[in-house]
């Protein structure tokens, strides 16, 4: 069974972003970039399926600028077998990425596609669902547990009220939530091995996709700032403030 995993290169989750004063966007100059945390979980899950003998091959794909190759090498070091970079400098939005991935699904014919549920830069939470729609596949989003058997996947999902389990036929699209697994640390030997694994570069035109964005960003601004607060010396002072000043109790 082949598993396809999609990963995105994003700002590192520890970085506090700064909005540019001209409101054209966020300042990304010299900022540390990393694999989207949810996508790390996706690669880890696929690797575990491979180690358990359920998956026979793990193919990892990323769409974007040339440095995405580093992100792919990290995925290969975690345990993916080969990588594909869909290289473009164009601004990529979820619908375009879903179309690019759909073209690769047609080409690679995986039994399972795993993506992170959302990217921590745009926080869109759309790509997996859109890919499933375009490829006419079932979707199992926000997965916290994944079991594959007999041509089906049983997925436990994190929903607002608690947990839900659904069963989907394969091939299917799964998006990962935080508690699906804890990604392994990448070891130096695996990083060295990853350098020799195949990494193919294609262009959106090769896949027959026009990745032009549909949403225009008119401006990016700072969120409303909270007024600074005070420290209170003890519980009595806190209650007094909450009752008389804030009037919330």
């Amino acid at each position: 069974m082949k598993v396809l995993v999609a990963v995105k290169r994003v700002i590192d989750y520890n970085v506090k972003v700064r909005v540019k004063s001209d409101q054209t966007g966020v300042d990304l100059a010299n900022v540390k970039m990393s694999m989207n945390p949810f996508d790390e979980i996706a690669v880890e899950e696929a690797t575990r399926l491979r180690e358990r003998g359920i998956a026979t091959e793990v193919v990892v794909v990323s769409c974007g600028v040339a440095p995405c190759q580093e992100t792919l090498r990290t995925a290969l070091a975690i345990g993916a077998d080969r990588a594909i970079l869909v290289e473009t400098d164009a601004e990529l939005q979820p619908l375009a990425v879903a179309k690019l991935l759909k073209a690769l699904v047609d080409r690679e014919k995986p039994s399972l596609v795993i993506l992170g549920k959302q990217a921590i830069d745009d926080d869109a939470n759309q790509t997996g669902q859109m890919l499933a729609a375009l490829a006419s596949l079932p979707q199992a989003t926000f997965a916290s547990k994944l079991e594959v058997a007999d041509g089906r996947a049983e997925v436990t999902r994190e929903i607002d009220g608690g947990l839900e389990t659904i069963s989907v036929s394969l091939p299917a699209v799964v998006t990962t939530d935080l508690r699906l697994n804890e990604p392994r640390y990448v070891t130096l030997p695996n990083i060295m091995k990853a350098k020799k694994k195949p990494l193919e570069v294609v262009k959106p035109a090769d896949l027959g996709v026009d990745p032009a964005p549909r949403l225009k960003t008119l401006r990016v601004s700072e969120p409303p700032q909270r007024k600074g607060g005070v420290k209170v010396p003890d519980v009595a002072a806190l209650v007094a403030k909450l009752k008389t000043e804030a009037k919330v109790v």
Partner: protein, 309 residues
């Protein structure tokens, strides 16, 4: 212009997120129709008809909508959407799961988790865990939008729209519901609660987490948790507040033993008043707290319950 709003409900009653989504839809200055798709959901459809500002309710009923299976609910939206200029859904786990699937089927982009409506094609939304606000304009013929419920005051009742029973789409047969464990709480639901008491890694254990219960009881509050607390097993996943958990905006948010990571702040920094109790004076949470108490929570919390009387 007409907006189709995908209602969130449990077949008997609407969730509050629906009324907030209708409020957002009304800002587009268009007629608003509500789609209530479910299994034996006539009661929810009847309630939908009473929401202020709703012009029409479309009621689609069938077992294929059990547990809001995305493939079927999205198919239902797609079957109707071409008659509309906008399709709105709440940015809850339900709406987030379903709407992008419908949008892609109609080759449209989606604007996720809007905070405001600037014009019928322009919306504001949070990016980078809410550390930046993007104003985006959709160029597609149908605007697919998910709505952050805490950003729009829910509409009231008093409406009397017509309810139209429509032919439900067939079961796509791609997925099957197996089971659900939904916590039945005696407390307010986290998402709409006026007061939230939240615990972090500082609580130390699932047993200790119960320390927050008398405080939550006294304040009639919902209980929330940081990701660290959930990951450590101190609290269930549906209590998680944060960038990828629930976004809450209560009148009062009490953060107990929570350090205040960027991702947690994303889920609660729109609270009207924030109180932080943490023994680490340097914890980042104190930067957003209106009132910060540097203290041992194991002493401070019981003291607080007593002082509130």
């Amino acid at each position: 212009m007409t907006v189709l709003v995908l209602a969130e409900h449990d077949n008997h009653v609407l969730k509050v997120s629906t009324a907030s989504t209708v409020a957002a839809a009304l800002r587009v200055d268009a007629a608003v129709h509500l789609l209530v798709a479910g299994s034996d959901c006539a009661a929810a459809a009847q309630q939908a008809a009473t929401l202020a500002g709703v012009a029409k309710v479309l009621h689609a009923d069938g077992a294929q909508f059990t547990a809001d299976l995305a493939e079927n609910v999205a198919d239902q939206v797609v079957a109707l959407a071409r008659g509309y200029t906008h399709v709105f859904a709440p940015a809850t786990s339900f709406g987030k799961n379903v709407l992008p699937r419908a949008a892609a089927r109609l080759d449209c982009a989606q604007v996720s988790d809007i905070l405001g409506v600037e014009s019928p094609d322009t919306f504001t939304r949070p990016i980078y865990a809410g550390n930046a606000i993007a104003t985006v304009q959709s160029t597609d013929p149908i605007k697919f939008v998910t709505v952050r419920p805490t950003s729009f005051d829910p509409v009231g009742g008093g409406g009397a729209a017509a309810v139209e029973r429509i032919e439900p789409v067939a079961d796509a047969g791609l997925s099957r519901f197996v089971s659900r464990t939904v916590a039945k709480a005696d407390r307010p639901e986290l998402q709409g609660a006026k007061i939230v008491v939240s615990g972090g890694r500082g609580m130390g254990s699932a047993e200790n987490f119960k320390l927050l219960e008398p405080l939550a009881d006294r304040l009639h509050a919902a209980i929330g948790a940081s990701r660290a607390a959930v990951d450590a097993g101190y609290a269930p996943n549906d209590w998680q507040v944060g960038q990828t958990g629930k976004v809450v905006a209560p009148q009062l948010y009490v953060a107990v033993g929570i350090s205040g990571a960027i991702q947690h702040l994303a889920g609660m920094k729109d609270s009207k008043v924030i109180v932080a109790i943490n023994k680490d004076a340097e914890a980042p949470i104190f930067q957003v707290a209106d009132y910060g108490l540097v203290a041992d929570l194991f002493q401070a919390v019981p003291e607080l319950v007593k002082a509130l009387g």
